[in-house]
């Protein structure tokens, strides 16, 4: 018996919405099997990773603050990827957003006033945009692949943190620790639910997702992104220049990554530390794809990935699962998702071993 892939003329819409769910389910099943085989309590691992964060209300606040940056960055990436602009360096733009916000916080240290935080946010967005502008410039002017440049710039941004917090921005009373001083009150993101750690970034993430969804489905901007990704030649015929699209895609995704960065430094961290880059920018790539490059899907996918982060920590303490387990689960999810995508576009057809030829 033989199988081959046959292209479907009209991919099923239902299936394209169903695959992310199937991918998550398959990940849970296969994860349980694999971890059982290597000697862990597989079922327990899956329960701790995927269910405990949901059933234990104490973990919800963790979910919220982990999901927020993933959703904000993932939304930006979903927009760029629609246009086939492959910004892989959201992590670097996130770092630059955080640094720009930190710069304002340190400049305004000790001042009070409502304007400090908005100014930081603005600086963060601009910082992310400016950093994304480098790959955009190289791509449009010199035709350098943005995948490579945006990725490599990420490592440069991390070095910049190390430099700044060791020398010019170092906390004068930090007993030599490489970190900035704690931001003053006006530069800290307020919590919205008293007694928890849920900060303003959480509702902002949801609002960003909703606005992006509206723009992508209704506006000429969203149409431009979709048509450039689907058929670049037709896009040019329709009056959408490729270079302008690359710029827009990079600036939007970079700006949102920068926004996530400044919210993160002003919220959970409240100072710049060496541990600030936490791979949100890379995980958000999975979020964007798991969410079908659709901002509403990205909101859901951001929550799912946040569950695996929170659950991974739970499983570490309760059943001694290694930290890398979280990464394995996330990778499996992406893998099943991509496999599912192939089956949406193609159908598997059983080919009996060619009786036709014998008859000839």
């Amino acid at each position: 018996m033989q199988f081959r892939l046959e292209k479907r003329r009209e991919p099923s819409r239902l299936m394209s919405y169903a695959t992310p769910f199937a991918a998550v389910l398959l990940t849970m099943v296969l994860g349980a099997v694999v971890f059982s085989l290597i000697g862990y309590n597989g079922i327990g691992a899956v329960r701790e990773i995927f269910l405990t964060p949901l059933t234990n209300p104490y973990k919800w606040q963790d979910l919220g603050i982990k999901a927020a940056p993933l959703i904000i960055i993932g939304t930006g990436l979903s927009i760029a990827y629609r246009a086939n602009v492959w910004n892989i360096g959201a992590e670097g733009q996130y770092v630059m957003g955080g640094l720009a916000g930190t710069g304002i916080a340190l400049l305004t240290y000790g001042m009070t006033g409502w304007w400090v935080l908005p100014l930081m946010v603005l600086a963060g967005i601009l910082g992310g945009m400016a950093y994304a502008a480098i790959p955009a410039f190289l791509r449009t002017k010199l035709n350098v692949n943005e995948i490579l440049t945006s990725l490599m710039l990420t490592y440069a941004s991390v070095q910049l943190i190390y430099y700044l917090i060791r020398a010019p921005w170092k906390d004068p009373m930090g007993m030599g620790f490489p970190q900035t001083r704690l931001f003053s009150e006006a530069a800290r993101l307020p919590t919205i639910i008293p007694g928890t750690i849920v900060h303003l970034g959480v509702p902002i993430a949801i609002i960003v997702g909703l606005i992006a969804w509206f723009i992508m489905t209704r506006s000429v901007f969203g149409y431009r992104m979709r048509v450039v990704g689907a058929a670049p030649h037709a896009a040019r015929y329709g009056g959408f220049s490729e270079n302008k699209t690359i710029w827009l895609a990079m600036l939007v995704s970079g700006g949102l990554a920068g926004l996530a960065g400044v919210l993160e430094v002003a919220g959970p961290f409240q100072r710049m530390v060496p541990g600030f880059p936490t791979n949100y920018g890379f995980t958000a790539i999975i979020v964007a794809f798991l969410g079908r490059l659709n901002p509403l899907g990205v909101i859901l996918a951001g929550i799912v990935l946040a569950i695996t982060f929170v659950g991974g920590e739970v499983a570490q303490t309760t059943i001694g699962l290694p930290n890398a387990a979280t990464g394995i689960f996330q990778a499996m999810m992406l893998f099943f998702l991509l496999a599912g995508d192939i089956l949406i576009k193609y159908r598997l057809r059983r080919v009996s071993p060619q009786p036709s030829v014998g008859a000839a």
Binding site: R4, R9, E10, R218, S219, V220, F221, Y223, R226, V227, A230, A231, H233, A234, R236, Y237, G238, G239, S241, V351, S352, Q354, P355, S356, V357, A359, A360
Partner: protein
């Protein structure tokens, strides 16, 4: 003698469309059998099943009197079925020989392959140098590669889906000589085309499909083009209504010394082209594909922007530096020759495809937001006015048959009432009834005062439609003259002349 191919009750259902409905007919050895039908009648679907690209839902295929199941194209080739598609799958940067070698199911040493290729070419008088790069070949020569590729397998049945829509009259004649010779040797040929006079000249039998059903089988030599067209449509055919003795208005589109730089490696640029189209006039541009037509269309539509504002003017206003969107606002609409991925996006709905070019002229955008209701209404009008066979504005462009997509695109542009319309191959792959409707729409638009440029390889179309005619060759345009002053031979020579001369050097004598 048993039938070479016999189909019984072949049925194929697509979502919402019954593409083939119990189709039964037979092809005899050595017969040239035409498959006719309107756009979307199910011709391509039927031959795709014979060649194993798709499987029928019901029915039987018998091959030399044995029932067979053709699982895939490879199995079809093993049976002795060859197919030449309208769109070639060739690598531009490779040579003829390399392209053929890549397409072979079995590995053959290249020296042996070359001698076999030369053998086939000599037998059938197909002139082609195996060591030339595909990029330097004309469309007719590229088609010859596909034919040689099919003939190397000694097929007993050769399927050709709209093979002549891109050929010059001379190339068509050469193709027919080859096909007749093949048939004389016993190879059957299944031939799909919308050009009915060719069917009359070539085919022994014609099977006519309408809406997936077989409606008639006839002898094309006993029919007229018109009677066959009417059998396909099921009703009478309309003639183009063109007011006699029309006078033209003032110059509307003036092109003055337009040149384009070389864009791709293999594109022929436009070289110092000048012409004038008056209000109410239809100018035809004849020429063999690959002589700068694409560059000319891109330069006029604004996809390629030059450096001289005055090189293109509409009503005296220089638009040479404007982009496509701005030119559309100035009243210039254009239809490129390639419909998939250029004039339309296959994955998008028809409604979304209307937004692509009509959004500004028809007010589909307000403050950066798309008015999808307006797009849907307009698309509905295009579908109705141009009799596009589609389930509705929400169907994706990719689900339409070739000719129906072309009708939609032509409708989308003409109904915008542009003051200048530039179209390339307006009736490419469109059936006789629809071609007449498209021609009429163009004539009506010109009578309303628009200036129209039609780039086409179909001389019959240009002669029926245009007021003035010019010929493009290697990026240069001949002087435009009233169409009545030309005869077919003269145009054919102008089109092929220079081209043929540069290529004659390495051709194998036919």
């Amino acid at each position: 003698m048993p039938n070479r191919l016999e189909l019984t009750g072949i049925t194929k259902q697509f979502p919402g469309v019954l593409a083939n409905d119990h189709v039964s007919f037979a092809v005899k050895p050595g017969e040239i059998h035409a498959l006719l039908g309107e756009n979307g009648a199910g011709k391509s679907t039927l031959v795709k099943m014979i060649y194993g690209i798709m499987q029928p839902d019901a029915g039987e295929i018998r091959w030399n009197d044995e029932p067979v199941m053709v699982a895939n194209p490879k199995a079809a080739r093993k049976l002795g079925i060859g197919m030449v598609f309208q769109h070639f799958s060739l690598f531009e940067a490779l040579t003829v020989l390399e392209n053929i070698a890549l397409g072979m199911d079995a590995k053959i040493p290249s020296r042996e392959l070359e001698s076999r290729i030369r053998g086939v070419m000599e037998t059938y008088g197909l002139a082609l140098d195996p060591h030339r790069t595909v990029a330097t070949l004309s469309v007719g020569e590229r088609q010859r590669i596909e034919i040689v590729r099919a003939l190397l397998l000694n097929p007993q049945l050769l399927i050709m889906d709209e093979p002549t829509s891109v050929l010059t009259p001379q190339e068509v004649d050469q193709l027919f000589t080859v096909l007749r010779k093949l048939a004389a040797e016993g190879c059957s040929i299944l031939y799909i085309s919308h050009k009915l006079h060719e069917i009359k000249a070539l085919c022994d039998t014609a099977t006519i499909l309408r809406a997936g059903k077989l409606v008639d089988t006839c002898d094309p030599r006993q029919e007229t083009s018109r009677s066959m067209a009417e059998k396909m449509i099921g009703t009478g055919l309309k003639d183009i209504v063109k007011a006699a003795g029309r006078t033209f208005g003032p110059p509307k589109l003036v092109v003055n010394r337009l040149s384009t730089g070389k864009t791709g490696h293999f594109d022929v640029p436009v070289d110092n082209v000048s012409f004038t189209v008056r209000a109410g006039e239809i100018l035809g541009i004849a020429g063999v594909a690959g002589n700068g037509q694409n560059a000319l269309l891109d330069a006029l539509s604004g996809e390629l922007i030059g450096d001289d504002s005055e090189a293109i003017t509409i009503d005296g206003l220089g638009i040479g530096l404007l982009n496509t969107t701005e030119r559309r606002r100035q009243g210039l609409c254009a239809v490129p020759e390639e419909r998939n991925g250029h004039a339309a996006v296959g994955d998008f709905t028809l409604s979304d495809n209307s937004v692509l070019t009509a959004r500004d002229r028809l007010g589909m955008v307000m403050m950066g937001l798309i008015n999808s209701g307006a797009a849907k209404t307009y698309t509905g009008r295009v579908i109705a006015d141009f009799a596009v066979k589609a389930l509705g504005p929400a169907s994706t462009a990719g689900s339409l048959s070739g000719g129906n997509l072309q009708k939609y695109i032509m409708g989308r542009e003409t109904l915008q009432k542009p003051s200048v319309l530039v179209v390339s191959q307006p009736t490419w792959g469109v059936d006789a009834g629809a071609a007449a409707a498209i021609h009429q729409a163009l004539v009506d638009l010109s009578m309303a005062g628009s200036a129209i440029v039609v780039i086409s390889q179909d001389l019959d179309e240009l002669r029926a439609l245009c007021d003035t005619l010019a010929v493009i060759n290697m990026g240069r345009l001949s002087e435009a003259r009233p169409v009545k002053e030309f005869n077919v031979e003269e145009i054919g020579l102008l089109m092929g002349g220079v081209h043929g001369a540069t290529e004659g050097t390495d051709a194998i004598p036919a």
